[in-house]
């Protein structure tokens, strides 16, 4: 850690952050920091703060740091030093400018991907500390505008895209109509109480990517499982409140999701290809509510696809042509160990898999996760420039023949598409559902 930091800050242009910071006083900052540190943290934070040996091992774990030529200012320890540690050290005696900077770092320069926790000799969880920093920012009213707007949508509609109750049902029925052109008796069963599976998606699917619902319906129908989708709020499994530090809303969202599954009395929830939502149901939202595990088992689409392919419930008519590479989404790989299962699904459906390196639990994040992409246009450039190493990974895979990137996560899609566009890589990004739908035998 002896290298001199080179980072030059560009002024924050985010309206939500600037207006929030303008209302801060030193007293309010101190009081809020004290309340969060004393009331909501404990030995974990103190231990992490005390244990860090400033060894710099985390630096090579962080895609931001690697993409900025190992500038220590971008290292996980460097970011922690400039955010939560300073609040712990000073007891919150910092000014609004500090909070603004800390908010930018915690919200837009760390994806909470937890790669650094694997490289830290003590296993210090930097993502946890960044979340504490975001929690303090939330309590201070200093949160990037676009992700705050998404949190508002969650609170008003229980989904992240301001989708109204009728629009949701209408979207399902529209996709059912569309899919019936292909499979005349296909059904998207809404509110089928007692079904085996509740299929849940994230807000952007009905809003922007309705074809994913269509494809899922074809796959679920063809596989012959007994499934349903809710006709009420609670259908969206996503959770940006988890990332804004609005833990109370995170809990309300997860309760709505779990209660919906319990009301429909399904035996399990199958969720679409989303990473952060998986973290929310399996790790954070459930535990805020007092559940050790989700009250209804939740499996990710990767697990479901693996199950129906291995059981022969769907058959692949012709494998996807051309080599593909696989991006490992942090939340389902480091968070849940689905990397080998994902590879098996790719091998069962695609001609050839070309690996990126490092991969599996050592993957580089897409730089969109952790709510960073949801902070919107003001931070897009720093997000994409901050993941040059991913572009290099993708380019290396392309040089070996990979034309398509398979990414079983929505945020990863957005992040990778931005990287591919920015660096001119000319690759397609696909969900596993895209691949399966295009290659499967479809019943008449």
């Amino acid at each position: 850690m002896s290298q001199v930091a080179l980072k030059k800050e560009t002024p924050v242009s985010d309206d939500g952050m600037l207006k929030g910071a303008a209302k801060l006083t030193p007293e309010k900052i101190r009081e809020t920091v004290r309340k969060v540190l004393d009331g909501e943290t404990g030995a974990r934070l103190k231990t992490y703060a005390a244990m860090c040996a400033r060894c710099g091992m985390c630096s090579d774990a962080c895609h931001f740091c690697l993409s900025h030529d190992r500038d220590p200012a971008w290292s996980p320890a460097g970011k922690v030093k400039r955010t939560i540690w300073e609040l712990v050290r000073t007891g919150g005696k910092v000014d609004a400018e500090f909070i603004l900077d800390a908010c930018r770092i915690a919200h837009t320069e760390c994806n909470l991907c937890k790669r650094c926790a694997m490289y830290c000799p003590f296993g210090i969880d930097v993502a946890y500390m960044m979340l504490v920093m975001r929690r303090i920012c939330h309590k201070l009213g200093v949160t990037p505008q676009y992700i705050q707007d998404t949190a508002h949508s969650h609170s008003a509609t229980m989904n992240q895209m301001w989708v109204k109750e009728d629009e949701w049902i209408d979207s399902l029925q529209w996709q059912e109509d569309e899919a019936r052109e292909e499979m005349p008796n296909l059904r998207i069963p809404i509110e089928k109480e007692g079904a085996d599976i509740m299929y849940s998606v994230i807000g952007p699917e009905p809003k922007f990517r309705a074809q994913l619902i269509y494809q899922a319906a074809v796959i679920l129908n063809a596989s012959g499982v007994d499934w349903t989708m809710p006709g009420t709020p609670g259908w969206d499994n996503s959770d940006m409140c988890m990332y804004t530090g609005d833990n109370e809303m995170m809990g309300r969202l997860k309760r709505a999701h779990f209660d919906t599954a319990v009301r429909l009395r399904v035996s399990r929830i199958v969720m679409g290809e989303c990473g952060h939502a998986f973290r929310s149901v399996h790790d954070m939202g459930n535990r805020w509510l007092g559940y050790r595990q989700p009250p209804v088992p939740v499996i990710h689409a990767v697990e479901f696809y693996h199950e129906i392919l291995k059981q022969g419930r769907i058959k692949i008519a012709k494998k996807f042509e051309g080599p593909v590479t696989l991006h490992d989404p942090c939340n389902i790989v480091r968070g849940h160990g689905l990397h080998e299962m994902a590879r098996e699904v790719v091998r069962l459906t695609c001609d050839e898999l070309i690996e990126m390196h490092p991969n599996r639990e050592h993957n580089y994040c897409c730089s969109a996760g952790g709510g960073v992409i949801n902070c919107g246009p003001p931070f897009k450039t720093s997000r994409v420039v901050g993941n040059r190493v991913k572009a290099e990974q993708l380019f290396a895979a392309k040089a070996r023949g990979a034309k398509t990137v398979v990414a079983p996560c929505h945020n990863c899609h957005g992040g990778l598409e931005d990287i591919i566009h920015h660096y001119g890589l000319g690759m397609d990004v696909k969900f596993l559902g895209d691949i399966i739908y295009s290659c499967m035998e479809k019943p008449e």
Binding site: Q148, H152, E165, E191, R287, G290
Partner: protein, 427 residues
């Protein structure tokens, strides 16, 4: 006192009501079956011809057919409702008769306790309201969620948007753009958020969880928040007898129950929700987590000793309010727990417990080894089904009506109603 159930057929024995297989030979498309409360009718959405759908009820199909029909639900009085659309116009059909008014969309059918009145959420021209027996509120709103209906089905409440705000306009949103509308009339005050509207049993008073800032939660009654605010709060409920409003709230010590803004239970819990009043309003119980990840029921603040690792839900009081039951799930296995004592059997899935009129027995729909059936006090009846519906007790509590779809002798599927005598079953 008149009791609808007195007029049901309580003669012990099984009777096939509908041959589902024959439906499938007549229609190229048949959805799942629903059963009337008295068990005399089975219904499903069917395709009548290409692109046309209707409701099949026993041997007949509704005369009108529709571009789309969904959400078939029997009312407590045995009438069949379904949401239907033709030519892009939606409405509610009851026994095949459509409401006179149509809407751009209609959803979330709610029925009064006696089935006489129906409420649905409706949208017309991008504006939202509730329609009670086909008549939409005079005032409509830019958004509408969380429909709540009074016991008689004559009054409705919902969270509505009261002020416009633009895309990513987080400042206006945080000034408060949501409130509660009751029968179309909005509370005087708006909030950052409102959730879980509740109506008093007579539909006159209303309450909801509100957020007055991003950080302060309270319970508003008829638009007026409690003086106390909390870091979080769940759904309010009216005591059915004295009209007091109770809600789970988070305090520095954990979750507890508040009544009319004052602490009602001394004890705090890791979690507390789904509170429920005994029919006489004298007792209140809630689902609680005593410790992290261990769930049970607390009655009047005292938790049962038996706990479950997955969850507890479906709180149900005996008719006399002396006993309480709930469903519990532990390590993936479901059961019913009565007054803190779990049934001696567990199942793959369990549905809400139903108390016998005398409060001596509980029955429930259960699933085990891929089949569904009914269990009473943990013991299975002899018949098993592909699907079974919530069982009903006879008014004298000596018999149980079991409704289900079973595999018929012809290997096809049939809907049957079966009356099981409790004396034969329990010995």
């Amino acid at each position: 006192m008149y009791c609808e159930k007195d007029h049901w057929d309580w003669e012990p024995g099984a009777r096939e009501v509908a041959d589902i297989d024959s439906w499938k030979s007549e229609h190229s498309y048949v959805e799942e079956v629903y059963a009337s409360p008295d068990g005399e009718k089975a219904a499903a959405v069917v395709k009548t011809e290409e692109g046309e759908f209707s409701l099949r009820v026993n041997d007949a199909t509704w005369e009108p057919s529709f571009d789309r029909a969904w959400y078939p639900r029997f009312a407590p009085d045995g009438r069949l409702t379904a949401l239907v659309s033709s030519g892009g116009e939606w409405t509610l059909a009851i026994d095949g008769v459509l409401w006179e008014n149509g809407f751009d969309f209609a959803w979330d059918t709610r029925l009064g306790a006696d089935g006489a009145h129906a409420v649905v959420a409706v949208q017309r021209g991008g504006r939202y309201a509730a329609a009670v027996d086909g008549e939409a509120w005079e005032d409509d709103f830019a958004d509408f969620t969380g429909l709540a209906v009074s016991e008689d089905g004559l009054h409705a409440a919902a969270v509505v948007q009261t002020k416009p705000f633009g895309q990513a306009d987080i400042e206006t949103f945080q000034q408060g753009c949501y409130s509660v509308a009751v029968d179309g009339k909005v509370w005087d005050r708006s909030f950052v958020n409102a959730w879980n509207p509740a109506l008093s049993p007579d539909g006159v008073r209303s309450a909801a969880t509100v957020r007055t800032s991003l950080y302060d939660y309270s319970i508003a009654v008829d638009g007026e928040p409690w003086k106390a605010s909390f870091p979080c709060a769940w759904e309010p409920r009216f005591n059915p007898k004295d009209g007091s409003v109770w809600a789970p709230v988070k305090t520095p010590g954990g979750w507890t129950l508040f009544r009319d803004g004052e602490r009602a239970w001394k004890k705090d819990f890791v979690e507390l929700w789904r509170h429920s009043f005994s029919p006489d309003g004298k007792r209140v119980a809630a689902v609680v987590a005593k410790t992290f990840g261990r769930w049970t029921v607390a009655v009047d603040g005292k938790p049962w000793s038996a706990t479950f690792g997955d969850m507890v839900t479906d709180l149900a009081w005996s008719p006399d309010g002396a006993r309480a039951a709930a469903t519990g799930k532990d390590k993936g296995r479901w059961t019913i727990v009565v007054d803190g004592k779990p049934w001696p059997a567990s199942f793959d899935r369990v549905w809400p417990p139903v108390w016998s009129p005398d409060g001596r027995h509980t029955a429930a729909r259960v699933k085990k080894n891929g089949s569904e059936t009914v269990a009473v006090d943990g013991r299975l009846i002899s018949e098993s089904f592909v699907k079974v519906f919530t069982p009903s007790w006879s008014p004298d509590g000596t018999k149980l009506l079991v409704r289900g779809v079973r595999t018929a002798a012809s290997a096809g599927r049939a809907y049957v109603r079966s009356v099981v005598s409790l004396s034969e079953f329990l010995g």
